[in-house]
């Protein structure tokens, strides 16, 4: 198998774009030198995905229930394919995220769109950490009352 660093980076981009708002995706696209022409292979489409769980957390798979998701596929003129997949029903975001997926594959990791993606990822990480610190503030510190002599 070849090095999976570009794959891991692309998977990271998918995760960040799935959590981003439309305006945030547009902001990253604004850092592209130019948006080249592209063909929409699969119009943004909303459907569902069946979310699976495991009994006990690690046992037999079961269907928890469905979730809405939206996907889109585009192709740049040079043949690069761009996809987007995200929970929810934001079709406007789906197409822009698919274009971004294609553009990011063609841009070197130190390019402006990559830097914008990195900033977006940092903001999402900060929000997660803030939620975690708020939860951590509700962590119980037990005090033990010692009665009598040791």
């Amino acid at each position: 198998m070849q090095s999976n660093e570009p794959l891991a980076r692309r998977q990271g981009h998918f995760a960040v774009l799935a959590r981003a708002a439309l305006a945030e995706v547009e902001a990253v696209l604004a850092d592209a030198p130019a948006i080249p022409p592209f063909m929409v292979l699969k119009q943004p489409e909303t459907g569902t995905i069946m979310v699976e769980g495991r009994a006990g957390g690690g046992g037999r798979r079961f269907n928890l229930g469905e979730a809405t998701m939206t996907r889109c596929a585009i192709r740049l003129e040079d043949g690069t394919l761009g996809f987007s997949y995200a929970l929810g029903r934001d079709t406007a975001k789906a197409q822009k995220a698919a274009v971004l997926d294609a553009l990011l594959q063609n841009e070197p990791p130190e390019g402006p769109m990559h830097r914008a993606m990195h900033r977006l990822a940092e903001r999402q990480k900060q929000a997660r950490e803030e939620a975690s610190r708020k939860a951590a503030a509700t962590k119980v510190e037990f005090f033990t009352m010692v009665r009598g002599e040791g």
Partner: protein, 370 residues
Amino acid sequence: MYVAVKGGEAAILATHDLLAEARRGDPAVREVEVAQIREQLGLAVARVMNEGSLHDPDLAALALKQAQGDAIEAAFLIRAFRTTLPRFGSSLPVETSRMAIRRRISAAYKDLPGGQVLGPTYDYTHRLFDFALMEGESRPEAPQAASTLAQTMPRVPDILGAEGLMEPEMPPEGDPAPFDLTRQPVSFPADRDVRLQAMARGDEGFLLGLGYSVQRGFGGNHPFAGEIRMGEVSVEFVPEELGFAVDLGEITLTECQMVNQFSGSKDVPPQFTRGYGLAFGHSERKAMSMALVDRALKAREFGEAADYPAQQDEFVLYHSDNVEAAGFVEHLKLPHYVDFQGELELIRRIRAEREARLAPETTPIQEAAE
């Protein structure tokens, strides 16, 4: 003979308008926005997503607005909408051990790795009215600890499992895809994947009542809440065209692991047994009830007598779906004019026959009295 009856169109159109007006309430009061419901009535939104069996907080909030807060009517709206959507596939099983924890407690272990994290809970409120909420416009801000919680926290049954004290929970051979009751008819006895899916979309009140019945003695379990955790979990999906897993974003889940008393046999030493509950959103009561009934429904597997409703899969699965139940109960409102006409004629005939039968006996007595 079949007599078609028409009519009522004008009345039905008028009722739609009247319903819209009733839903809106006093026009002098500001209309509630869907986003407000999503953000501020999140527990109701979670319930509608669970019972509608579709995760989409915006749609669940819209459903609640449209249904005037009627959770079952809202779940019905969600179910109806779901049928219009194509299914793209199934996610990878969610990994709750990697949950971004916002609440995690154990009633079994005081000092467990990762700690007791109370999170946003009503458990320690005094259930006294907060009249300040009537004034509106509050901007509360929660304190932050200096550091974040641990990235992963072990699940309590896994801690017991490491000692061999817990019933093991392993995927069956080959890790098969789960049964889907939305696409295949259920048969009995139902396997655990079927039962868990049915309960996940089942009515919270029904499962709460059944769970309660188990605790009170109509079933053999009075367990420990081994662990309850709530937080965000990534949903991953492998699109055919890519062939690798894509993170679709995260959803809030509540998971409950009940630790029940021992089971053992000649070959297996006594060990704790599990009950499992999982639900969309912050849905603790639902997840706990589901975990209680999950354990009760294992009666057959453990060779226990299934004497009570909560232990009988056919009873539980056939009656837990509130959209189905409401449909059958509420269909009684629909016109049954012809059926009832038939009943009326029948009862009149039976009464006439009875009178005719009794008549010859009474007549002679009357004659004798004369």
